[in-house]
Symmetry: C2
Subunit: 351 residues, 2 copies
Amino acid sequence: MNKENSFTLQCPLSLSDYPHVLLAHGGGGRLMNQLIEKMILPEFENPFLKTRHDGAILPVAGGKVAFTTDSYVVHPLFFPGGDIGSLAVYGTVNDLAMCGARPLYLSAGFILEEGLPMDTLWRIVKSMKMAAEKAGVQLVTGDTKVVDKGKGDGIFINTAGVGVFEHDLIVGPKQIQLGDAILINGDIGRHGIAIMAEREGLQFESTVESDSAPLAELVLKLISAGIQIHCLRDLTRGGLAAALNELAQAGGLTFEIDERAVHLDGQVRGACEILGLDPFYVANEGRLIAFVAAEDAGRALALMQSHELGRGASIIGKASEKSPGQVTLMSRIGTRRILDMISGEQLPRIC
Amino acid sequence: MNKENSFTLQCPLSLSDYPHVLLAHGGGGRLMNQLIEKMILPEFENPFLKTRHDGAILPVAGGKVAFTTDSYVVHPLFFPGGDIGSLAVYGTVNDLAMCGARPLYLSAGFILEEGLPMDTLWRIVKSMKMAAEKAGVQLVTGDTKVVDKGKGDGIFINTAGVGVFEHDLIVGPKQIQLGDAILINGDIGRHGIAIMAEREGLQFESTVESDSAPLAELVLKLISAGIQIHCLRDLTRGGLAAALNELAQAGGLTFEIDERAVHLDGQVRGACEILGLDPFYVANEGRLIAFVAAEDAGRALALMQSHELGRGASIIGKASEKSPGQVTLMSRIGTRRILDMISGEQLPRIC
């Protein structure tokens, strides 16, 4: 008993505040941030984790590679615009792309629940195959586990990815500079609303599809054109607001965002109003923000807009102050407010 | 309906024989083999998967790296000799070592079930940290997801690993040669029995502990001594029998094993008898087999026995015939039988 106590006392998260894991600990908001920053990262601290990047950039074989991982627990497994299989490929490909790397190799770890219909697994495998081809990556190693019925939820997939560098650009939160322009490659909120609509049986005039897509080609196009990209981040859990806040904190800068420059599809806007969701916090799976040297902003925007995954690109703001690491939003009616990180999440199991 | 039919008809596994995923599809036996070989690997076929290795050996940055993944769903989370955290580190480290690589970097993907006690997570994180230090690897990137209560089982962990090569030796199933000696680094069955005893509340005179341990140092010691290692395999799900059968098939050779050279702890033997388990099929987490050129066998054995993780090493057999890819066992009483791969598994969720 004593031993147990002295052990649990060391836990850096308050066990009386949070005796159990909550759904919100996985939601991309403040609680997840706290869990990871206070409890997990300090235990493993090393220069690779310290970058707070979407992946690690590792010295190997006289060069360097990018390495990243994500588990996918999205519910439902199939949704307009994608499924857990394509999501598991694109999500990890995108994390490598956000490091500035060319994604080359993926691993796949399947956790199957006993009783999963075999043809469901088959459809997911087929979808992964097509997604890997589209993203230009090879699945090179894998693992399959089965858990008893009632101890999983059909299928969870983990993918890890390895990418290589074809340039010397260093892309990461610490590289963001005062004055950098912040670009986005399209409208926000599609993935979250597509999932939510599927779960809740919402009907739209036309189906809202997830934006899920592989972003590496778009990024490499910018880099090979010589755009001075300082940082990239894809807008997944917690949406645009979480990504901006994480980077503002990691870079120690304040970002000023112009709400009018952030685009929303009309149906997504309507769904958010009905569901009481703020689209800034809704997940995307094919959207990124790029921090670009101010003098390159116009050229970067034009390059994005000439790519099929950047047609709706816009410049949404800039890195405006040296501190204190927050995000301000200039609203449509000209008022300014702080765009905070939410505590938990709006939508669980979005990816 | 028609579309659905034409789609499912393409599934290379018979959907009438196996309409659903069974626990046995994760057990390391014939069913798992079939699922992976017929349904998953052909979809992604490439030269890296074709090696049927524990990991992929990838050209990057002018050199090469080893890359592998495993998900861990062991139940219970804590057991004599380890826990899901240390297992998730050592298991992936070992897969890299079986490629002949020095493990350097790990990713960690946590799938937490809502309601998991926070101090359980903390103990597991602490254990991973200690295991990573012991194995000489750094955890460099990660991900945390939370699923609703009843849709997971406390915690599942995926780790992927990256390793580097300090030599030019090619280690893999295709390298096994006729006449190769087969070495093992100790007695078998400890991990499976430790888990089973914990689940079933079995009592022994002294506790049977899992053999879970990082094997890279042992392997690199053999390699740096110039031992001609042709292939390595760790003996996890499906035990010694599954590993031998997979390699016999992949290498297209027949292996002859001498049962008397395969060591068993007395308590493990007793537990197997009580539980009706064949120890050849029981999982290990700190045991490997090495295929070594016959002329190096004696020296390899001595080197193994001088390492703390190889004290109980022995030479258990040889690659005896050019075909047809099976394993024969010479029993203690001098009879010969085929050591087949079992269909499902003896123990679910062993790792």
